[in-house]
């Protein structure tokens, strides 16, 4: 392994361990500021993680090995994703492929869905079934949006389609549509406002929180880490799509721009969670249909303009 590859690995692994917690802390601090509170410091998630890791764990007696292994599988599925998507702007250590990443994320969803049904509680079941219903629309929106770019570049490898050779004027139409589709799909996937409120206390309104309700202690720490990593990687992916018209960029500029965009994404999320109201469950398909339509429109433009 060459020195450059080794440095890339080290950079990605280090950022993958630190960025999720920093971003979560930043979003929380941002929300607090917007709501006129002082709020916790940006480093709070680190201390929360340390606390969770040291805390005792309570496991339901109804569960099987699925419950204990699901956070492990979820994190193990997320780790290659973080190494394959070039979310830091520079090349990723492993050559990433769009469909591999999507299906690895699906593997994580499979594991967490089963873990929610394992304890035999009603909340887990509602959370799992709603999460499955949301992903029925969010996943195709994500895939179609990125497929527009992939078809344009004739390859499903991230390295290739996130820095297209021929940039035409029609990209000015395609990229915003893809960003709209991706942002809505990412919001749904990460269970953020207005699809799901991470701060709600009412179980019947939860989607993601109900899914992880039974987890505690170490399991919960793993789950939070996996979700945080997914957040950062998906924000980074959207950042890369935004940066497409300015490619090729020197590495340092790309890195700084990506970090800036990820932080900006966090700010948008913080604002959304302070200002927007969570949608009623029956209205969520309406919102996600916009994502699918925007993605399909992007495909239409790519198909017509060649």
């Amino acid at each position: 392994m060459t020195l450059a590859a080794g440095i890339t690995w080290a950079v990605y692994v280090a950022h993958g361990l630190i960025m999720p917690l920093l971003l979560a802390g930043f979003i929380r601090a941002g929300k607090a500021r917007l709501q006129n509170r002082r709020g916790p410091s940006v480093r709070q998630p680190f201390w929360d993680l340390a606390k969770l890791l040291g805390k005792g764990e309570t496991i339901s007696e109804t569960t099987t090995w699925v419950f204990r292994w699901s956070p492990v599988i979820g994190t193990a599925a997320m780790a290659p994703i973080a190494l394959m998507v070039p979310w830091l702007g520079v090349g990723s250590p492993l050559p990433g492929d769009l469909f591999l990443v999507v299906y690895l994320a699906a593997a994580g969803k499979f594991a967490s869905g089963l873990a929610a049904l394992d304890p035999g509680s009603s909340f887990g079941a509602i959370g799992a079934s709603r999460e499955a219903a949301v992903s029925v629309q969010a996943e195709p929106a994500l895939v179609i949006g990125l497929a527009a770019l992939a078809a344009h570049a004739h390859s499903s490898s991230f390295q290739v389609f996130l820095s297209p050779r021929q940039a035409g004027p029609h990209l000015a139409v395609v990229i915003p549509l893809v960003i709209v589709a991706l942002w809505l799909a990412v919001t749904a996937d990460l269970a953020r406002m207005p699809v799901d409120d991470p701060a709600t206390h009412l179980e019947l309104t939860m989607i993601h929180e109900a899914l992880v309700l039974e987890n505690s202690g170490r399991n919960l720490a793993l789950v939070e880490l996996a979700v945080g990593l997914k957040t950062v990687v998906l924000f980074g992916l959207v950042a890369q799509v935004i940066l497409i018209p300015w490619r090729p960029l020197p590495d340092s500029w790309a890195y700084l721009a990506s970090m800036g965009l990820i932080v900006a994404g966090g700010a948008v999320v913080a604002a959304a969670e302070s200002v927007l109201v969570k949608l009623r469950w029956r209205r969520i398909p309406n919102l996600l249909s916009f994502a699918i339509t925007a993605a399909a429109l992007a495909c239409l433009v790519v198909a017509v303009k060649g």
């Binding site: 690895l104 799992a128 499955a132 992903s135 399909a296």
Partner: protein, 605 residues
Amino acid sequence: MAFSLPSPFFLAEVGFEFRLDRLAAWFLAVIALIAIPVAGYSPEYMGHLAKRADMRVFVAALPALLLSMVLVVLAANALTFLVAWELMSLSSFFLVATDQRDPSTRRAALIYLSATRVGTAFLAGAFLWAHALTASWTFADWRLHGAVGLGPGLLLVVGLGVKTGMWPFHLWLPIAHPAAPSPVSALMSGVMVKVAVYMIIRLFVLSGPALSHPALGWIVLAVGAVSSFWGVLFALLQHDLKRLLAYHTVENIGLILTGVGGAMAARDLGLATAARVALAAALFHVVNHAAFKSLLFLGAGAVDAGAGTRDLERLGGLGRRMAVTFPCFVLGSAAICALPPLNGFASEWLLYQSVLGIAGGGPSPVTRFLAMMLIGWIALVGALALACFVKAVGVAFLGRARSENAECAQEAPVGMLAAQLLLGVYCVALGLLAPAVLATLHPIVQPLEPNGMPLASVWTLPAASVVAVMGATAGVIALWLRWADVRRPARVFVTWECGFGTLTSRMQATATSFAQPIARMFGVLYGYDVHRQIEGEHRRLFPEEIRAEPKTEPVLESRFYNPIVLWVNQVAEWLGRLQAGSIHLYLLTMFATLLVLLIAGAYVR
């Protein structure tokens, strides 16, 4: 390699001719791979059924089915093919009807038989037409390209489509496959439907092709796409475990036909690489689906034998009672949901790559746009399949038992477990050794792109690195958890119930409730409605009893098939009057026909 039986064995004009080439060898390998675990599974499973069924029929029909499938794959001319095909249909009919005491099984077997009659009728019509055009019964002699190929081609698609369970001819599949004993279901779902796909590939894609028309590829592609969506959507609505798996067979056959249709369409558009990859994806998915669908059916059979019921609403908590069946079933579910690094992902990735090839390089904007929408369609099907299997595994194996049957469930005997483990090994091996499988497929799909690069070079995924990273991460975390558990063990307590007291098994999700949000989303397609009934004197404020039942209308059956069946029955009844038993009527009919033929003969002359 070709051979034919010597002279006493003759079928009207030609002899029995067989031919073994690479494509046939591939399908023979599929038959053999699945036959072994099914054979190991059957004795103990049928022991549980032996009290109700006639074992002699089963023992005779199962080898007959295997032999006939081999003969169908090897058949080199149309008549041999039809003989072997009929043998296959008859033996599978007897196998479906094994449990004869049950009226629903008898009905299912008769529905299956009538479906195969209809399919064979179309096939016979197509072969007769092709023979009239080419004066030969041998497949290799047929070269019907362009407009002449459309008629026989459509009849063949319908005839073979009935057997593969493609939409809209799939109605018999969810009725027949659950009614059969589980090893038979595994064989039928895993292998028999693939034999029909083999014929489609042989006649439409490779070696010639025998029949081709520009529209046929698009027709197969469209029908495959609709099948995959329809199958998985209806699978979500089922709560009978084997019916759910049968609908997933429809879905996966849809994916295979999408690959085959994509290969045909790409070949017609001149995109040789995409055509080759599409066919490779279809062939790979054939063996993958055989492996994981058989695994799932054998697991469902173990559940049926151990817990006495297949109804998801009465299962639950089997994960702790069936310690080996459970992980095998989870593995099979993960494979069918195309989760990396298992085999389902490998073939679906190839399918995506071929459609992406059409989306990028297609000649017209319409083609490119439709290909991109097809990518999204396959992703939608994948998301629905994931939801369906989380439901199936979660409701059947996890949580608490919902009935006494499930509480006293027994693990399956060793033979059944060994068969499932073997199929599990197939799934993992096919997934990890995907480049080797592609190298094996290379000579089979080569005719589509003679100067192409080796097929294994299409596989550009860093599979080894991903598996290594996943393994390393999982290993490190697992070790750390083990160490932490020793230091501070987890406390085992009840599931959190808001302080209301114990949770009963009725408070869990049922299969219907898990699927309800998605069922409602697509409710227009099948008239989804929930009938609610609330009882009680002051029921608006203090309901005493609430009954809620989701109702769906099987649109295809009630709007299309039932009227046709009704009409056929009416015509049959009317014609039945000719068989009234009156000798005068019979004589009159004979003389009238003679007269008509004489007059017609005079005119033709």
